[in-house]
């Protein structure tokens, strides 16, 4: 690598750092994204200009095909399907890492790491690690995509001896890497790929749908480490820096998500949480009947109060209710009601998912507040309007030590003067725990599809 190209790679690394820095505020975020694009353009330009790269035509064709596919998908995708899209994109980074490592193995001269059959051990280890992480990212992301898209069941799939099997495959991969470094034959390279594919698949399968925010963040992190691993093979600092940035970003996001559920990362990773099993095991039947309200009541009350906090959850996204909800908020604002939105860290299927959906529906971002910012205000609020959220409002998380969600930070919806709870039926949330809030005196249930209920409330407000 010449000095000049090193300098360009450094510039592009700095631009990547700036692009993340820009996301500290919505006003600087778009500039940040531009820095990211610029950094990528510089990195690609520098590489294409390097003396070893000569097949411009083929590269251009491959690049344009990929670019067209990527742009088309990104322009057409619905914002509710964002988590699936991100998972699918992660899988591509993983697969690309496998292919790059593979071509480094078959043609080490192009990467300056010796000749076929006599690659230094250090490079082989780096290559093998990059391959393994890339392959795990690939199949893991495919399963995550399937679960989010509904192709694979969102329920955790568990079987006996699962963790033991994973452990064995883990050791097999380590053994294969050791053997690969000694014999340097292609068979072992592909065996590493296959074993890593298998473990990526098995790791994500037992994890339930609502734990996907953690998993998508984790895979985001993996795709970064895969890039860093390839960076070591290529002796390229840009790949290492970028890989570390992405890797730590994903790790921090997983941490935030885990904290939002008061669960350890291992607990999520071991899987089997929630879904039908948890409902069955919780056992005791609940005969209490919640009070039921109707949309007209809700409309009347909200119109005549002074402040409303809306608590959206994944159910809102499923019902595509964000536009109707914003319309409802607009009418209330016109009536002089203060309307704000409260977002729990794990609402939705990826970090920040609700914020994007509300932004898509033209809700200004300064009306959308995080748990820490708004939680105290519930006690001074007249109406809390919960739509498509459940577990994150359950007061049992604070009081009931036996509850599966005990200790999880919740939105103190119960403290509001009146709670309206929009829900399709009485089914419990992801954690399989009955929500105490339903039976409080100040709670009225509004049964029905989230979007329809919003539309009915709007009708009520207009009359």
């Amino acid at each position: 690598m010449s000095n000049l190209s090193s300098v360009f790679y450094l510039v592009s690394a700095v631009l990547f750092i700036l692009s993340l820095r820009g996301l500290s505020h919505p006003t600087t975020a778009r500039k940040g994204n531009f820095y990211g694009m610029l950094g990528m353009a510089i990195a690609i330009g520098t590489t294409v200009a390097s003396p070893g790269v000569l097949s411009y035509k083929e590269i251009a064709i491959a690049f344009i095909i990929g670019g067209l596919i990527g742009s088309t998908i990104a322009l057409k995708i619905q914002m509710t399907a964002l988590p699936q899209l991100v998972a699918a994109f992660h899988s591509l980074v993983g697969l690309a890492a496998v292919f790059v490592a593979g071509s480094a193995f078959y043609n080490p001269e192009a990467f300056d790491i010796g000749a076929v059959g006599s690659i230094p051990t250090g490079s082989l280890i780096e290559m093998a690690l990059g391959t393994a992480i890339g392959a795990i990212t690939f199949t893991g992301s495919i399963i995550a995509f399937g679960k989010l898209q509904g192709i694979v069941t969102g329920n955790p799939l568990v079987f006996k001896g699962q963790h033991f099997l994973n452990l064995i495959i883990g050791f097999v991969i380590i053994g294969l890497i050791a053997k690969f470094c000694i014999v340097q034959t292609p068979e072992y390279f592909w065996l590493i790929v296959l074993a890593s594919f298998a473990i990526g698949f098995l790791l994500i399968l037992p994890i339930g749908g609502a734990d996907m925010p953690v998993i998508v963040s984790m895979l985001n992190s993996y795709s970064g480490w895969a890039a860093a691993g390839i960076g070591f093979t290529l002796s390229n600092n840009l790949l290492i820096i970028t890989g570390a940035l992405v890797g730590s970003s994903g790790a921090i996001l997983s941490y935030i998500m885990c904290k939002g559920m008061n669960r350890s990362f291992f607990n999520v990773l071991l899987g089997g949480f929630g879904g039908e099993q948890a409902v069955a095991s919780s056992g005791k039947k609940d005969d209490r009947q919640p009070k039921q309200g109707n949309a007209a009541d809700a409309a009347f009350m909200m119109k005549n109060c002074s402040s409303v906090i809306i608590v959206p959850g994944y159910g809102m996204a499923v019902a595509q209710a964000q536009h109707a909800l914003r319309e409802m908020g607009d009418i209330l604002k016109k009536e002089g009601v203060e309307v704000r939105y409260a977002i729990h860290p794990v609402a939705g299927r990826m970090p920040g998912h609700m914020n994007v959906l509300l932004a898509e529906a033209n809700v200004p971002y300064d009306e959308v507040l995080e748990l820490d910012e708004i939680n105290r205000d519930f006690s001074s609020t007249d109406v809390a309007f919960v739509i498509g959220a459940n577990d994150v409002t359950n007061p049992a998380a604070k009081t009931d030590k036996t509850s599966a969600i005990y200790g999880m930070p919740i939105l103190d919806v119960e403290n509001a003067g009146q709670v309206f709870f929009v829900k399709r039926g009485m089914a419990s949330g992801y954690a399989g725990v009955q929500n105490e809030l339903f039976f409080r005196d100040n709670t009225l249930m509004l049964f029905g599809d989230a979007k329809k209920v919003c539309e009915e409330v709007i009708k009520g407000l207009e009359n």
Binding site: L23, H25, R30, S50, G224, P351, N355
Partner: protein, 129 residues
């Protein structure tokens, strides 16, 4: 007043010392970066430092923008295209070159997809009028 100027003098002395140390460190790093065998240590240094940078930068990202953050990190992790381009570079065709071209295509899907979808998300975030 004189106390202040004294302190200033001390401070400038310290600054000079630090800069001396930094340039020594840089010289050391440059020495170790010669040849591939030594790159492991150098690369590892870069990796750890970059992790710290990432840690502080990512914690300063506002939670409302965590989805765009994933979009951007997804796009920039495709910087792996650098490796793909080197692999696809040689004129004569080989298995390794085909792998490289496939990787270029995959990474390009990600780069464009990641940046475009992030841009779409960010363009929706608006302030109250």
């Amino acid at each position: 007043m004189s106390e202040l100027s004294n302190q200033l003098e001390k401070l400038s002395y310290q600054a000079q010392e630090i800069s001396n140390q930094a340039s020594n460190l840089a010289a050391n790093l440059a020495e170790t970066s010669n040849g591939h065998g030594d790159f492991l240590v150098f690369g590892f240094t870069v990796l750890i430092l970059a992790c710290f940078v990432g840690y502080y930068v990512v914690w300063s990202v506002t939670p409302a923008l965590h989805s765009p953050l994933m979009g951007v990190t997804n796009a920039i992790s495709s910087v792996i295209i650098v490796g793909a381009l080197l692999a696809a570079g040689p004129i004569d065709s080989s298995l390794s070159k085909i792998f490289g071209l496939v990787a270029v295509t995959l990474a390009a899907v990600n780069i464009f997809g990641g940046f475009v979808v992030t841009n779409r998300m960010l363009s929706m975030f608006k302030k109250k009028q």
